[in-house]
């Protein structure tokens, strides 16, 4: 298999086209998944730019006369000014692994890892956009560049840009990223969500994530794995072929190494978790044989922590706060 070979660009272009053809369904799926999770614009619980009423305060000298709320003022002798809650849109940067190892699925999984990662990315983006947040795609070769998107048609644009970057990565392996590069400038204190299999050596993962942490950003690492990568469900003498120039592995008897592999895999996962913890990133694993809604809910909860959870985040950035559990968005005017 030479999916990564540059010589087969024509075939890859065809595949990319096929991938692009999957875009509308993917968008629909993303929207459907996103719809299952609650949404809303998150007030900052302080006075500022926004639509939602926050408080009345007495008119102070220097206030613009136009800000006087005459209706309220008419109720008493004093003159009140109406203040709204500061509603700040947060920029969330999204990144997905575009390397060849994501374009793989075992017999145990219904979809490829990359497909699931794309679904999750777009679903999260849909969710965020609906919540009024700004979304930026972390893809150095995407036509979107460092543009942050918001608004009604942002999801389509984002999806197009994302797919184009995937196609590029497929056509030109040099553009494929198995770990986020820091070549793109990131807004400080931005939220970053990373989708990937993170099967690279821990040192490489650490280098990459540490660069992110140095920005600094608040990152969420979502590891998308195929169940076969965990279970190694093969028998007998198998030559395992690499997908990313890592070299083949000839296992004389797979049954014999299954435990050792499981142990090695657990160590890798533990190492990843420890790494993320040390950098203050959140880390979770999603298996492609599980429904994507679970992962999306976990992401959403992580990105919108409650008051008790906000302290746990690395501190400098307060993440969005919903008004309250089940009635999110009900207070919008």
């Amino acid at each position: 298999m030479s999916e990564a070979g540059p010589v087969s660009s024509a075939r890859d272009a065809r595949r990319a086209e096929a991938l692009g053809a999957a875009l509308p369904p993917l968008l629909v799926a993303a929207r459907r998944v996103a719809a299952t999770v609650a949404q809303g614009v998150h007030g900052r619980r302080r006075v500022g730019q926004g639509d939602s009423f926050w408080q009345f305060r007495p008119f102070l000298p220097g206030d613009a006369v136009a800000r006087i709320d005459w209706r309220q003022s008419a109720k008493s002798d004093r003159t009140f000014v109406r203040e709204t809650e500061w509603e700040a849109a947060q920029t969330v940067c999204l990144w997905a692994d575009s390397s060849a190892s994501m374009r793989w699925r075992s017999r145990l999984a219904p979809v490829e890892k990359g497909e699931r990662a794309a679904l999750l990315l777009l679903a999260l983006a849909a969710l965020l956009l609906r919540g009024g947040e700004r979304v930026r795609l972390m893809a150095p070769h995407s036509p979107l560049g460092t543009q942050s998107l918001s608004g009604r048609d942002a999801l389509e644009k984002l999806a197009q840009g994302f797919m184009q970057s995937l196609m590029q990565a497929r056509a030109e392996p040099a553009f494929a990223e198995s770990l986020p590069s820091s070549s793109l400038p990131l807004p400080r204190y931005a939220s970053v969500v990373l989708f990937g299999d993170f099967l690279d050596p821990l040192s490489a993962v650490q280098t990459s994530l540490a660069r992110l942490a140095a920005v600094p950003v608040n990152a969420y690492v979502m590891q998308v794995l195929d169940p076969a990568e965990l279970a190694l469900p093969f028998h007998g003498r198998v030559r395992f072929m690499d997908l990313e120039e890592e070299g083949d592995a000839l296992i004389p008897r797979v049954e014999g190494v299954r435990e050792a592999y499981a142990e090695r895999f657990t160590r890798h996962q533990d190492g990843l978790a420890a790494l993320c913890r040390a950098l203050g990133f959140r880390f979770s694993t999603h298996m492609t044989d599980q429904p994507p809604e679970q992962a999306l809910l976990a992401l959403y909860l992580a990105l919108a922590p409650g008051p008790e959870a906000s302290g746990e985040a690395s501190g400098s950035v307060a993440l969005f706060r919903p008004f309250g559990g089940g009635t999110l968005g009900a207070a919008r005017g």
Partner: protein, 907 residues
């Protein structure tokens, strides 16, 4: 079971090595893509016990290898060895009559022997010990490989004559080779000395394998006997056999002409006897109609030529009626007339006795009247009529006849009898003179002790000599005969008893009567020197066939002494009404066993079976196993999951199924509904039809290149036969001598026009004096046009003008020339609205087809008259307009009214 190359089996010893190698070599790994391969690589030294090839796959491969080894070693089933000596092997086969019973077994045995000879790599020569029907002398064939000898063997047949062992023995003496396979019938040939010489010559030729039936059982039909009996005698079938110490049974079929089996009966042969007999259980009338007796081999073997006995006229028994004038003591032993007659005729004839009127009522061949006078009256008339219809009347003289000679006598008798050597006479009893050559008794020896003491005398006449069949020494006739109608009257001038002569006491009397009775069936000729040509001969299996080229005629008197041979095959000889049969059975000596061959190894005939090499099936099975192994290996490596590989595997498993190519293309090419095309009416005149085709082809090409219409090649149609509904335009050239249309054609054309078709009728020139440049080119075409269109529903016509739609449908035309110009073109003056205002018929004489025609070189074969490219162009344009008119109807009808419309718009 043996092997042709047994040393190859040593390779089986290498199987354990193969087992070890297969065990050590791990199976080809499956190939799996895996993203976490880095983690696997980092596992470091892993367990080294590699996955083994499954034991059953190993066993499969070893089995396949073993099958290949065994198959290559050439296993041969049912192989047997023969001591074959040195040099080419001589295959001697007895193919005389006695080999036919188990001929297929002999052929099988010969082929089996050839199997063994071929396996030894030896060559073989063939000697068949009986001559073939061509009569060619026996030869030993050239030594050749057994595969080529099999073809010679296949044409070998059992022959309907004995083996010629004397010639065979002399051939064997000149054969230089050791090793003989002799497929023997073990029946002694007619020449015992030759048998001995043959056996000795064989024994001299080294190891001899004699393949034979251990208990030979040959059966021969001997000539049947006729046995006198109370009801006139029976036919006794006799069977000759080899003497064996057990009771044998033969089954005989009695066949009538046409192969109908009239009876089937068994003959039982006592132990040790050489022959058995049984009466044919048929009434005499039926027995007389028998054609042949045939041994039915109940053992299922083939019959032989010796098992068929053809019955000729000599074995037909004829009903003979006896009547005597002296009814009282006619039957008295030693005294009565009939006593002698019945005893003389009994063995050979079916005898009826009784009143003459009753005898006449029966169907009889011969009536013998002993001293019975036939006075003139109804009885004499009845007898006369019977004789005239072909009956044979034999009369004996006697006192009554002598006293009252009647009319039904061959000669005029002198009244009274003549006494010779009596007490009162001088003469002595007379002896018989030798029979004259013209007499049916010719050739019979005349015993000297026969004397005649009394006789009736014939009145001397000039033709008395020709009537006399037997005479006494003094020249007086003893037996006279004369024809009467189709029959004959024979008179013995003596009595049938011993009163007048002692002739009835002699054997000659029996023979003479028998000859006379034979005479009654039309065997007028006595056995003589006449050469009878073979009419139908028997082959080696006892079936009748036409005589071969070698078969010669045989003199009639040689039948009883001739041994059947290629020159004289057994069968029926002679003309239709006088068939004589040459049978094999009577010619054969009593059956004996041939002398054994010294030092021969004897193999049973049914013990020789064909060898069967089964190496190739084993190798085929091994390859099937290898194919299965390939599939399994592919499956183990996970390659079968790919659709392409799965498809290939299915093909490997199922074989290629050829799907016959669809013939849709052929249908499409011929389906007139799929392409629009012009059509022309076949006139039967080849030149005219060719012109029509060429013209329409040229017009179609022009239309295809100039307009959006796409026309296929033009089609020849016959109205009434072809369906016209596919064609928009029909070109119909009308020649002056065109035959009249059939009613079906008229109906078809009318329906065509009624359904919207357009017929362009072109007289291709017109009468003298007509308008236009074509005048005079087709004298009589006007009459022909009238004649041909008589039944057609042609509407009132009007000349085509610029105002018509036809002048506007594609080009705007004012002239409508073809090859000729100037003649009016006619079309319906007021087309019915039903047809889109389209005229169903257009009639002209400008020979458009000639103007449109283009030859294969692209030239125009017909000059336009008066001429010019412009005229031809206009002709094409008219054609285009015509096609458009046919295809679009009044679509361009507005063009006609354009001036009026414009005028109206202007207002």
């Amino acid at each position: 079971m043996t092997f042709t190359t047994p040393w190859l089996l040593l390779a089986l010893l290498a199987l354990p090595l193969l087992w070890w190698l297969l065990r050590v070599t791990p199976p080809t790994p499956r190939r799996e893509h895996f993203p976490a391969v880095r983690l696997l690589r980092e596992l470091g030294p892993v367990e080294q016990t590699t996955a083994r090839t499954p034991w059953w796959l190993l066993a499969l491969r070893l089995l396949a290898a073993a099958l290949v080894i065994v198959g290559l070693a050439g296993p041969v089933e049912r192989a047997g060895g023969l001591p074959l000596g040195q040099g080419p092997v001589l295959l001697v086969i007895d193919n005389g009559w006695s080999a036919s019973g188990d001929w297929s077994a002999r052929m099988l045995a010969a082929n089996a022997a050839l199997d063994r000879i071929a396996r030894e790599g030896r060559r073989a020569a063939l000697l068949a010990t009986a001559q073939d029907p061509s009569g060619a002398p026996l030869v030993i064939g050239a030594p050749m490989p057994p595969s080529r000898l099999r073809a010679r063997l296949a044409v070998l047949q059992p022959e309907p004559w004995p083996t010629d062992r004397a010639v065979a023995a002399s051939l064997l003496r000149h054969w230089h080779g050791r090793g003989v396979v002799y497929i023997a019938d073990r029946i002694g040939s007619p020449d015992p000395a030759a048998d001995k010489a043959f056996a000795a010559a064989l024994a001299r030729l080294g190891p001899v394998t004699e393949i034979t039936e251990p208990n030979p059982a040959a059966q021969v039909l001997l000539p049947p006997l006729t046995e006198p009996g109370p009801s006139g005698g029976r036919l006794i079938a006799r069977v000759g056999v080899l003497p064996v110490p057990v009771r044998q049974t033969a089954t005989i079929l009695a066949e009538a002409p046409g192969g109908r089996i009239l009876a089937r009966f068994n003959v039982s042969i006592p132990p040790g006897a050489t022959q058995g007999e049984a009466a044919v259980p048929l009434p005499l009338e039926l027995a007389n109609r028998l054609d042949a007796l045939r041994l039915s081999d109940s053992q299922g073997g083939s019959p032989s030529a010796a098992g068929v006995f053809l019955l000729d006229e000599r074995f037909r028994r004829r009903p003979v009626g006896l009547a005597s004038g002296d009814a009282a003591d006619a039957e008295l032993p030693f005294v009565g007339d009939l006593y002698y007659l019945s005893r003389a005729l009994g063995p050979y004839a079916d005898i009826r006795q009784g009143d003459l009127s009753r005898l006449l009522a029966d169907r009889l061949a011969v009536i013998v009247l002993a001293d019975r006078v036939l006075p003139a009256g109804p009885e004499a008339d009845a007898v006369r009529a019977w004789v005239a219809h072909g009956g044979l009347l034999i009369r004996f003289a006697g006192p009554l006849v002598a006293a009252h000679p009647d009319a039904l006598l061959p000669v005029q008798l002198l009244a009274g009898e003549r006494t010779l050597g009596g007490a009162l006479t001088w003469g002595r009893p007379e002896h018989l003179a030798p029979f004259p050559r013209t007499s049916p008794f010719a050739g019979l020896a005349v015993p000297s002790d026969i004397t005649v003491t009394r006789q009736v005398l014939a009145e001397p006449s000039v033709d008395l000599d020709t009537h006399s069949w037997a005479r006494l020494d003094d020249g007086t006739p003893l037996v006279t005969s004369s024809r009467l109608g189709a029959g004959r009257i024979v008179l013995f001038h003596v009595t049938a008893n011993a009163a007048w002569s002692n002739l009835p006491l002699s054997g000659l009397f029996v023979t003479m009567l028998r000859r006379l009775v034979e005479l009654s069936a039309g065997v007028a000729e006595s056995p003589g020197q006449a050469v009878l040509m073979p009419a139908s001969v028997l082959d080696g299996l006892g079936a009748s066939e036409t005589p071969g080229p070698a078969a010669r005629g045989l003199a009639a008197d040689r039948f009883t002494v001739t041994m059947p041979s290629p020159l004289h095959p057994p069968g029926l000889y002679g003309p239709e009404n006088g068939r004589l049969a040459l049978n094999l059975g009577p010619a054969l000596p009593p059956l004996i066993l041939a002398p054994p061959i010294r030092g021969a190894r004897v193999e049973a005939l049914d013990g020789m079976v064909r060898e069967r090499p089964f190496g190739p099936p084993l190798i085929a099975l091994a390859f099937a196993l290898f194919a299965a192994d390939l599939l399994i290996a592919l499956g183990l490596r996970g390659l079968l999951a790919r659709p392409a590989m799965r498809a290939a595997a299915s093909i490997l498993l199922l074989g290629v199924i050829a799907v016959p190519a669809s013939s849709r293309a052929d249908i499409a090419a011929d389906d007139p509904a799929l392409v629009t095309r012009l059509a022309y009416v076949v006139t039967g005149n080849q030149a005219v039809d060719q012109l029509s085709r060429a013209g329409l082809q040229g017009l179609s090409d022009f239309v295809n290149s100039r307009t959006a219409a796409t026309l296929g090649p033009p089609k020849a149609v016959v109205p009434g036969r072809d369906d016209l509904s596919f064609y928009p335009l029909l070109y119909w050239p009308v020649t002056p001598n065109a035959p009249a249309m059939s009613p079906a054609a008229v109906t078809a054309l009318n329906r065509f026009m009624g359904n919207g078709g357009i017929i362009l009728i072109d007289t291709e020139g017109s009468d003298d004096g007509a308008s236009g440049s074509g005048a005079g080119f087709a004298p009589g075409s006007g009459a022909a046009l009238q004649r041909l269109t008589r039944g057609l529903a042609i509407p009132p016509l009007t000349p085509l003008t610029y105002e018509n739609v036809l002048a506007h449908t594609f080009y705007l035309l004012r002239d409508f020339p073809g090859r000729f110009d100037g003649a009016p073109v006619w079309l319906a003056s007021d087309p019915s609205n039903r047809n889109d205002n389209v005229s169903p018929v257009i009639i002209g004489s400008d020979d458009w087809a000639a103007a449109w025609a283009v030859d294969p070189d692209g030239h125009y074969p017909y000059t336009a008259i008066p001429g010019g490219d412009h005229q031809r162009l206009l002709a094409y344009r008219f054609g285009v307009n015509l096609v458009m008119y046919a295809l679009t109807g009044n679509y361009k009808g507005d063009q006609v009214h354009l001036p009026a419309i414009l005028e109206r718009l202007g207002q």
